[in-house]
């Protein structure tokens, strides 16, 4: 009986030894998480429109390595982005910076929204005014009647 129990336990151990929790791919998951958050907003420079986070290109891997190093040395997100922008220009940012050349981009939708609202109001107002003046007189009514009859017959 003891032999059986021992064998059973040994078997459990053997099985248990296989059920290892996989180690995270990255050395430091916290750093990696921050890397992904930053890299998702950066552009892979050699790809056909992919983010730095997802790209498998060589340069992308090199740049991710650089960003990782910068994170470990305690740089802030803004400093890391500045590091890349000073080397590659604004092109590397997927979130365009707010500067005079991008004011139209960032404030455009808001302007469009306001413009749309103003358009809406003016259409409704115009329609309200029209409502008050849209009354047919006898001549117009007769004309309308004739037109209606003509439409019915030509169908």
């Amino acid at each position: 009986m003891k032999l059986l129990v021992t064998l059973f336990l040994a078997l459990q151990c053997a099985l248990g030894a296989h059920a290892n929790e996989a180690a995270p791919l990255a050395e430091d998951p916290v750093v990696e998480q921050r890397l992904i958050t930053i890299a998702e907003e950066l552009r892979c420079l050699v790809c056909q429109n992919e983010s730095l986070a997802g790209s498998r290109a060589d340069l992308a891997m090199d740049l991710r390595r650089e960003v990782r190093t910068l994170i470990k040395t305690g740089k802030t997100d803004a400093e890391i982005k500045e590091y890349l922008v000073s080397r590659y220009g604004d092109f590397v940012l997927y979130r365009p910076p707010v500067k005079p050349t991008t004011w139209l981009l960032w404030f455009g939708p808001l302007l469009l929204f306001i413009g749309a609202f103003w358009l809406l109001v003016s259409i409704i107002r115009r329609n309200q005014r029209q409502k008050d003046t849209a009354v047919l007189d006898a001549v117009q009514r007769a004309k309308a009647q004739a037109l209606l009859q003509e439409t019915d017959s030509s169908k």
Binding site: E21, P24, A26, E40, D90, V92, Y94
Partner: protein, 655 residues
């Protein structure tokens, strides 16, 4: 021989399309019945010629005729049969032929399903479409001929891009093109109306099913594209705001505004100018999309191989078609003045509000898409506008749309009151807010964005169900309710379902990037994944590393997944075939990465995702499409047929 016949068919199609375009339009303008009579047979002849040409190209692909340059560039003898056919539209030239096939197909449909339209209208519509076909035929014959032969015949083709060797490619482009091209039909109807000077409720009733049908195709096409990107690209994303994705989304947004504007024009004769403008813009955006994808002005994974000559041609075509239509609009819009009125609180107002919002959203997306181009043209440097911008800008504009959607469907035409609406909607609103704000707690962490998304979605679903129930209960004969009524609710529920999917996925998805050896496990989203083996598996035109991963919940193995990493013979870039287990409440997604170097047991990089409710995104789109289909098939669009039958019946009885 066959490719030459295909080529000849296209050459022949050119004078046919030109004759159709010129004579039908002239016939409509002058009233000549003999010219107008050419419209329907002309359109059908064009379809047969194009279909024949397409068949020849497909034959060349199927029989591995590598003497045809296009086949050699996009196919391979080891390519499986199904992909040999879909490779026909895998490149620029063939996809143009597909475009043309869709255009002539729609023209064929218009020629058949238009018995109740006056001949003048039909000949004008088909005439406009014929001229558009002329443009595409010229484009193909001059710059993008798929039938060009190679004098040096290669032993084997270059193979279809491995990314495209997938069932998604078989359906996504044809569906998408059906949508893009389908928007040419309301475009043509609008041109016809502007030429005619007559724009009444009847015109709106004729145009509406075509616009809706095109919208349905576009919805399915975009949904398929998103779904395909999700399972094929291996990183779990499903929308990237890539310029080409935006190029398809823009006509969809405007198309949605169009079908709703048509509703108002049909019902009340209002918003005529807006309806015309929207239909012109929708198709213009389709053409703009064609330009962006094929001219090389923007960087995108979708972009076709470029040639400056092609870009110039499309730009000219764009200028003529869009410029011409806008000039006509400027000249004739005075005659299209709206009649009738509506009060501030009415269905018209809410439809107008949402249409304005949809168009604003489209304008914002267009701005973001074109901004890098604009800045570069002004020599102000190079910019990138990516997902962070679009997400920041799009969501705030679309959120009110979801809110007003419900109010619009509840409000009465012409005149309603705030008090009345509040009374009817208050219970729904309260329940939506309660559920929307408490459900996130059940799912895990609470977040304001998730709460808002859920509240709005539940608001839409509840309101629709309440309305449908009332229709069922309060109407004397609910079966006589037109099918388009139910279709509207199905489509609206579809949007809500889609929003739930997006909200839940964005709010609660989790992933882990791990290093696994055989036997290792990883826990994600309440599931355990165990790697039990990796084998080398050969495929028809690739070699693959195939992993075996057990999906375990608790202590039960639910399923075995097989993620693959394929190396195609024709390409050096390895492709990931993710393994996905889909269910209504979540997807689990396993992606096999590279083999990792190191001493000890061999290990692989694996990425595991848990994506709750992601399938709701595409389910919602599917519901939208079904709803649209129900609306397009409404009986009132087929009235003439019904009238014919009853007349016959009467005659029969009399006899």
């Amino acid at each position: 021989m066959i490719p030459e016949l295909g080529h000849f068919a296209l050459i022949l199609a050119l004078p046919v399309a030109a004759a159709l375009g010129i004579l039908s339009l002239a016939g409509g303008q002058t009233g000549r019945a003999d010219w107008m009579a050419l419209a329907r047979p002309g359109a059908q002849a064009l379809w047969w010629l194009t279909a024949f040409s397409f068949g020849c190209l497909t034959y060349a692909f199927y029989t591995n005729d590598f003497s045809v340059m296009y086949v050699a560039q996009h196919s391979n003898s080891k390519l499986p049969d199904l992909y040999r056919v879909s490779a026909v539209w895998g490149g620029h030239e063939g996809s143009l032929l597909l475009w043309l096939l869709m255009l002539t197909g729609w023209m064929m449909a218009v020629s058949i399903f238009s018995r109740q339209l006056p001949d003048v209208m039909v000949s004008r519509v088909l005439g406009v479409l014929g001229l558009i076909a002329v443009g595409f035929l010229l484009f193909m014959l001059i710059t993008s001929n798929p039938f060009v032969r190679l004098s040096d015949i290669p032993a084997d083709g270059r193979d279809l891009n491995p990314l495209l060797q997938d069932p998604g490619l078989v359906f996504h482009p044809p569906m998408l093109y059906m949508g893009y091209v389908g928007l040419a039909i309301p475009f043509a109807f609008s041109i016809a109306a502007l030429l005619n000077g007559r724009l009444d409720a009847a015109w709106a009733r004729w145009t509406r099913p075509w616009a809706t049908a095109a919208w349905v195709c576009l919805t399915i096409g975009i949904a398929l594209g998103s779904w395909w990107a999700y399972y094929e690209l291996g990183w779990g994303g499903w929308w990237f705001w890539d310029p080409v994705e935006n190029a398809s989304f823009l006509p969809w947004l405007v198309g949605t505004a169009l079908i709703h504007s048509l509703a108002v024009t049909e019902k009340r004769g209002l918003f005529r100018s807006w309806t015309i403008m929207l239909s012109l813009i929708a198709f213009s955006l389709s053409l703009l999309g064609t330009f962006l994808v094929r001219s090389g002005v923007l960087t995108s994974v979708h972009a076709f191989a470029t040639d400056p000559k092609r870009g110039v041609f499309i730009l000219l075509f764009l200028a003529v078609v869009v410029g011409g239509s806008l000039i006509l609009f400027a000249m004739r819009s005075g005659k299209v003045r709206a009649g009738g009125s509506f009060s501030l609180v009415s269905r018209e107002t809410f439809l107008l509000v949402n249409n304005v919002l949809l168009t604003t959203a489209a304008a914002a997306v267009l701005l973001g898409t074109l901004y890098p181009l604009i800045i570069d043209s002004l020599n102000l440097g190079k910019l990138s506008v990516g997902p962070p911008y679009f997400n920041a800008v799009f969501a705030p504009i679309m959120t009110p749309v979801l809110f007003f959607m419900v109010i619009g469907s509840y409000a009465r035409w012409k005149n309603d009151t705030v008090a009345e609406l509040t009374k009817r909607l208050r219970p729904v609103a309260i329940v939506s807010v309660l559920l929307g704000c408490t459900l996130p707690l059940l799912a895990g962490a609470w977040s304001a964005l998730v709460a808002m998304g859920l509240t709005l979605s539940i608001w839409i679903v509840l309101a629709s169900f309440v309305q449908m129930y009332r229709q069922f209960k309060d109407t004397a004969n609910w079966k006589s309710t037109p099918i388009s009524y139910w279709g509207m609710h199905v489509a609206h529920i579809g949007i809500a379902v889609c929003v739930i999917g997006i909200t839940m996925v964005k709010g609660y998805e989790t992933e882990k990037d791990v290093r696994m050896t055989i036997g290792d496990t990883v826990d994600v989203g309440g599931y355990t994944f165990r790697l039990t083996g990796i084998q080398q598996v050969p495929g028809p035109n690739y070699n693959a590393d195939r992993g075996t991963v057990d999906l375990i919940k608790g202590d039960r193995v639910l399923r075995t997944l097989h993620p693959e990493k394929r190396t195609y013979f024709s390409s050096t870039m390895p492709m990931t075939e993710a393994a996905i287990d889909t269910s209504l409440t979540r997807d689990v997604y396993v992606s096999l990465g590279e083999k990792l170097e190191g001493d000890g047991k061999p290990a692989w990089a694996m990425r595991v995702y848990h994506k709750p409710f992601i399938s709701w995104i595409w389910l919602g789109c599917f519901l939208m499409a079904i709803g649209g289909g129900m609306a397009a098939l409404d009986k009132r669009y087929r009235k003439k047929v019904a009238a014919k039958l009853s007349l016959k019946d009467i005659k029969g009885v009399a006899a």
